[in-house]
């Protein structure tokens, strides 16, 4: 029996070996983007484009499994020890990890990196993720020189204490803001650290020519054996997506950073030869129509429900070449806590009319819809306008620059409806609380916030807070269930029309070796350390 198992295993190994040859070391790839890279400072740069590049140069204490949402230790030697009350986390660092400048990383660097994000002078967009650490607020307000809740116990041990238990805290410790940076390199580069980054990561920044390209080279002293596989990565910027696509055809580019341009989309997906290099995955985001609960007829929940029933989501998906899946609730399918049984509002204009009549709007009403002016959003807004005209609601479209849409949407009692295309909510980390606090809670329903329906349900806030205090592993299933029920309640209040979850498409060259988990990773986007090339 034993021998049989051994032989079977050997056979399996051989089989797997032929199917997945180990990635080859060496070679380099070129990736294209339209927009310039702004900064590689992990405390500052936080968008779809620079996040995977920051991931090349830096590491956090924690990370996620490739293509998944399970937390794993990275610069930490193991997952942290958590105190009984769920407030204190003790991290033990991996031994002998060196920064690119040759210095060994210590617990002091962890403390420094977190305090740097909290320091108002850094102007970090991520500051508020870390203000729940004990003593952080006093440090932010300038009342304390250091954050009392971050204690260095030994060169390889750091203890972080929170004001209250937070089930999402470990996710926050895997974000780019928690990447570890060396103090002396930041001091040396000053505000230019974002253009001269030094980290512990698998690649080093070799050169950066503003507006042209960035070159990364392999970090030969990386702590993970054999990683990364590539010797170098070149990121070319300024290429229009259509031009980038042509360059890929010519073999000058290996990966389309901005995805397949809409004009070529159908051609690519219908061509079997090209299709082999196309990958797609549903993003952890939701594109929605926000319904302002404080404006005119939309104050009435029945009106909001009617609007939900009046909008034909499949028509909108056709406008975007089917690059999405219909959304039935707030949470996207890949988000923990997603409720498969949530039905949402079915498309039913007749029922919508009845509801409107019941709410006292038998002849409809007039309202406004804000949208960004970049294609395809105005076309989608027109589709919504037509759908609502069917039930007697006359919509005036306001198609504006993105910054102006944000401004109107985040001002109370201003924008009745906002189409979030181009501004869809994408996860910061794979935890449902991230789809609640920043966009649907009382604390975000303020001037300049991102809660565009201006919904504030104190009872739901209390439930979410209670859920976030459930940190024990045994409580996780119950916590996710609680969040599912919070989002179900919001769905009943119809504060959004959840329309679709974007499906991202990317395309690679023949020589680039990498799968969907590496090229469309839900948390890293592009996992450069796992890519390789055919020799």
């Amino acid at each position: 029996m034993k021998r049989f198992t051994g032989r079977t295993l050997l056979g399996l190994t051989l089989l797997l070996g032929t199917a997945h040859a180990a990635p080859q070391q060496g070679g380099s790839i070129t990736v294209s983007y339209k927009d310039d890279v702004t900064t590689l400072d992990p405390a500052v740069g936080y968008d779809y484009q620079n996040w995977p590049m920051e991931k090349m140069v830096f590491d956090a204490l924690l990370d996620y499994t490739s293509g998944g949402t399970t937390l794993t230790p990275r610069l930490a030697a193991k997952m942290p020890d958590v105190s009984k009350d769920g407030k204190t986390y003790t991290f033990t660092l991996r031994k002998g990890v060196k920064f690119h400048n040759g210095r060994v990383m210590t617990a002091d660097d962890v403390k420094y990196s977190l305090e740097r994000v909290l320091d108002p002078k850094t102007k970090s967009p991520g500051q508020s993720f870390y203000t729940d650490i004990a003593g952080a607020q006093a440090f932010v307000d300038g009342k304390a020189k250091a954050v009392s809740g971050i204690a260095v116990l030994a060169p390889d041990k750091v203890k972080i204490t929170l004001n209250a238990p937070n089930a999402a805290f470990l996710n926050i410790m895997a974000m780019n803001f928690a990447f570890i940076v060396p103090k002396e390199a930041v001091a040396k580069a000053g505000e230019d650290f974002g253009h001269q980054p030094v980290g512990t990561g698998p690649f080093k920044l070799k050169s950066w020519v503003s507006g042209q390209q960035l070159q990364f080279e392999r970090n030969p002293n990386y702590f993970m054996a054999d990683m990364p596989y590539l010797d170098g990565v070149t990121v070319k910027v300024g290429l229009d997506p259509s031009v980038a696509y042509l360059s890929l055809q010519r073999g000058e580019i290996d990966l389309l950073g901005d995805g397949i341009p809409p004009a070529q989309f159908l051609q690519v997906t219908r061509d079997p030869k090209l299709k082999a290099n196309v990958f797609s995955k549903t993003s952890v985001n939701t594109t929605y129509l926000s319904l302002n609960t404080g404006v005119g007829p939309l104050k009435d929940v029945r009106v909001r429900q009617a609007i939900n029933m009046a909008i034909d989501k499949t028509k909108i998906l056709r406008i975007i070449n089917g690059r999405g899946v219909v959304a039935r609730g707030v949470l996207p399918p890949l988000m923990p806590g997603y409720d498969k049984t949530e039905k949402g509002y079915a498309y039913d204009p007749a029922k919508a009319k009845t509801l409107l009549a019941a709410a006292g709007f038998k002849n409809g009403f007039e309202t406004t819809l804000y949208t960004t002016s970049t294609d395809p959003n105005p076309r989608i807004a027109q589709s919504i306008q037509q759908d609502l005209a069917q039930i007697g609601v006359k919509v005036q479209l306001k198609s504006l620059a993105q910054s102006s849409v944000i401004d109107a949407a985040s001002t109370p009692k201003t924008a009745a409806m906002v189409w979030s295309g181009g501004l869809a909510w994408t996860q910061d980390y794979p935890d449902p609380s991230d789809f609640y606090w920043p966009i649907l809670s009382c604390r975000s329903a303020v001037q300049g916030g991102w809660n565009w329906p201006f919904v504030c349900d104190k009872a739901l806030d209390a439930r979410a807070e209670k859920g976030d205090r459930m940190v024990a592993p045994a409580q996780q299933a119950a916590r996710l269930k609680e969040y599912a029920s919070i989002f179900a309640a919001l769905n009943k209040q119809a504060v959004w029309v959840p329309v679709f979850h974007e499906v991202r498409y990317t395309m690679k060259s023949d020589r680039l070796v990498g799968g969907v988990d590496d090229l469309l990773d839900p948390t890293h986007f592009i996992n450069y350390e796992r890519l390789s090339v055919k020799k």
Partner: protein, 306 residues
Amino acid sequence: MLTFTVSRVLQSLGVLLVASVFTFSLIFLLPADPARLVAGPSASVQTVDSIRRELGLDRPFVAQYALYLTHLLQGDLGRSYKQQTAVRPLIASRVWPTFQLMLGAVALELLMGLPLGIWAALKRGRWPDRLVMGFAFLGASAPQFWLGLSLVYLLAYGLNLFPLGGYGGLSHLFLPALTLGLGGAGWYARVIRSSLLEVLARDYVRTARAKGLSQSRVVVRHALRNAAPPIISMIGLDIGVFMGGVVVVESVFGWPGLGRLVWDAIRVVDIPVIVGVVIFSAVVITLANLLADLVQLALDPRIRYS
């Protein structure tokens, strides 16, 4: 000559001051919150407020502008909100590519516009004339974005004659310069044609012909020389036109110049970069026009006395 130059320089400085106030006010009036755009959607309102304070955006307009002007007079254009680097070296790194592009465009405009204009003038009213005028009309009305992408598709991708975009030598420069200059080439052809026609009808041209000089000699030595001044002032004006054109052309071809820098900055309301580029462009345009006037003055003594 000296008084003329001094008065023009003073005039230019006034223009620059007005340009800086105007741009600054315009951005200030925009319904957009730069602090929110720097912070992104995930930042809390408290963080946005803190960033606003750090950037000095919580102060009144006059205080912000006064501070900006004080720094400006010391040659400091401030720091980019989004890239967090100093604006001056950022602009400096993009000047040369844009200058190359403009130089290439002017060269192509002259190379195409001059011969076409002369040809049209000499064949006045016949088919070459109509052809050139048609080309001028099309060149002026074709949208640059479409023109650029079409050239990429036909000449770079289809016929494989040029690189698909990006920055490099002459082969990289040709298509973006052509896209930028094609509209102007038609315009040059028209101006050359009309000023040549005017000159060719003059008495001295008839005299030159009567002396038995060849057609080409008459056109080049006598007529063109007198038709040249409007071309010089056109090149000066072109610089201003190009400053607008490079935004589109550089975006299409991935040319790392000022146009793309300002385009990226406008998207995220990166005020220091926008104002910096506008002021720099205003300086360049003013200088170009000043230079064009002085060259004309040197070429044509009559202007001096009028």
